[in-house]
């Protein structure tokens, strides 16, 4: 019995490693694609597709690295643990035994928690680096995060009421059978609030004040270098792709095959890019005020909307 169980979990872990590999690779590739898209908007050619991979290799091949203490080591590790943890509980492909990961009854809560976890670990690590710009970046990043989490969580509560479940798999299952069943159609108010939060989550303009390359060098990662930075770049790709998969699952009907997943996530990503290339950067107070006004209102409305829908 125990042995059988062990085999089952070993198989799960194997499948999960495969998912992890594919999602990270896809995240890096899509990152290059997005960079090239932005370059085209600016009239440039942009980086080659292999550039994100080379950057990470280069960082791992650096000959020296210095430390600022234990938390400094743990920062990037927490961050990637947050990324892997988030992915672990999201079913990547609906109906596929292989790619449903460790999805279970209450995974939606766990996923939201893990999304926080990585950021907090990073904040501790960057804080230990002792660089003033890192501290400023963290203060801005965390306050912006608190702000965009409000509409996002409101939207999530709305769809939890709508589908009466906390399982992502069941939420995806409820959306099967054509686009008219997707959350974006059945509960467009919640989707709108979540997509506004998504802009903040992806960290593109107008909500990239916490990185702000021109003002506070690059915020939290200022002191990170070599392999630490390599880990963080890996996580950026992984975590970015994971968030896209989560949004696809919650609002756009999930995916039953890899090509479907890639097309859908790319289109979701494009929302952040189109807004990003068209708008200048918000100051942090402007960004926070923005999230607390219209998106939060829409989030509250989405809960009212879903209650009315259920009554009707």
């Amino acid at each position: 019995m125990i042995i059988e169980d062990f085999d089952f979990w070993l198989g799960k872990a194997g499948y999960f490693s495969l998912t992890l590999l594919i999602v990270t690779f896809y995240g890096l590739l899509v990152g290059a694609f997005i960079d090239r898209t932005i370059a085209k908007v600016q009239g440039r050619i942009g980086i080659p597709y292999r550039q994100p991979f080379i950057n990470i290799l280069k960082n791992f091949f650096k000959r020296t690295a210095i430390s600022h203490g234990v938390m400094f080591y743990l920062g990037p590790v927490f961050r990637i643990a947050g990324g892997i943890g988030t992915l672990a509980f999201i079913p990547v492909l609906y109906g596929s035994e292989m790619f449903s990961n460790f999805s279970m009854a209450g995974d939606l809560f766990l996923v939201i928690y893990f999304m926080f976890f990585g950021q907090l670990g990073m904040a501790l690590g960057a804080g230990e680096s002792g660089h003033p710009y890192a501290a400023i970046g963290i203060a801005r990043g965390l306050s912006q995060m608190t702000a965009y989490e409000v509409p996002f969580v409101l939207a999530v509560i709305s769809i939890v009421i709508q589908y009466d479940t906390l399982s992502i798999t069941q939420i995806v299952a409820a959306q099967q059978g054509g686009w008219q069943n997707w959350t974006v159609v059945t509960n467009w108010v919640a989707t709108l609030a979540a997509m506004l939060a998504f802009l903040g989550m992806m960290g593109y303009s107008p909500f990239d004040i916490f990185l702000a390359p021109q003002e506070i060098p690059i915020g939290p990662p200022t002191e990170f270098h070599s392999a630490y930075l390599g880990l963080m770049q890996l996580n950026r790709a992984l975590f970015g792709a994971t968030k896209l998969v989560l949004f696809m699952n919650l609002f756009f009907g999930g995916a039953t095959s890899w090509p479907e997943l890639m097309i859908k996530t790319l289109l979701i990503y494009m929302v952040a890019i189109v807004v990003g290339v068209a708008f200048p950067r918000f100051r942090v107070d402007q960004g926070i005020r923005f999230f607390f006004k219209i998106p939060t209102l829409i989030g509250i409305m989405s809960i009212v909307y879903v209650q009315m829908m259920l009554v009707a």
Binding site: A39, I47, P48, Q51, K58, R63, T64, P221, H225
Partner: protein, 210 residues
């Protein structure tokens, strides 16, 4: 791979007060050998050459020539070049022309904080022999007396095209494994330090900025 160096041997940090001595490391920098397997080192060099992150630090007139590199006209990101605002993450330091003594201090500080392997490109004629500032009271004439230089791009002022050509040349040299400035700096550390301290009179920082 660390080359065996006497690690007992620490730096004096004579420029610091007693209180500050506690705050800074007095360890000596160390030289690094290439990976023992040649294919691995070649691969690492290929990755390093194709991902050159330039420190956004402008010195002299040449700083103005660095900016257009990232614009639509020259678009150096095609070659894997990117700007980095922090020395920790950058691998290329472009000395954009003359280095005044005051700036030299900051250049040394930033260079030592960069993680190896790191490369220096000197832009313009000033870092070679002083150029038109050869008799100035506050610029250094031969830059390679103070830090190891990997590549010179001469002219007064070289245009961004030449800088791009220089970067491609640097890539060739890195791929061939010829750019070992960081190691040269460590191996001749005392000589470089003596030269630096000769011109920088108010030396109030640690001997090596970790």
């Amino acid at each position: 791979m660390i080359k065996s160096l006497n690690t007992e041997d620490t730096l004096e940090n004579a420029g610091l007060t007693d209180e500050e001595q506690q705050l800074f490391s007095n360890a000596r920098p160390q030289a690094y050998e290439p990976y023992p397997i040649k294919a691995v080192e070649d691969f690492a060099n290929w990755a390093r050459a194709n991902s050159l992150w330039i420190l956004a630090f402008g010195t002299g007139c040449g700083a103005i020539e660095l900016r257009p590199l990232m614009t639509a006209r020259f678009d150096a990101s095609r070659f894997g070049v990117a700007g980095r605002p922090t020395p920790r993450q950058s691998s290329v330091f472009v000395i954009g022309g003359y280095a005044s003594v005051k700036t030299l201090k900051r250049i040394i500080r930033s260079y030592e904080q960069m993680q190896g392997p790191k490369f220096i490109i000197c832009l313009g004629i000033c870092p070679v022999n002083g150029g038109m500032y050869f008799d100035s009271y506050n610029t250094v004439n031969q830059f390679d007396q103070y830090l190891p230089v990997d590549l010179y791009i001469t002219g007064c002022m070289p245009r961004p095209e030449v800088l791009v050509a220089g970067i491609m040349e640097l890539q060739k040299k890195i791929k061939a494994g010829e750019c070992n400035g960081a190691n040269r700096y460590v191996e001749n550390f005392d000589w470089y330090k003596a030269n630096q301290k000769k011109v920088i009179k108010n030396w109030d920082m640690p001997d090596y900025n970790w």
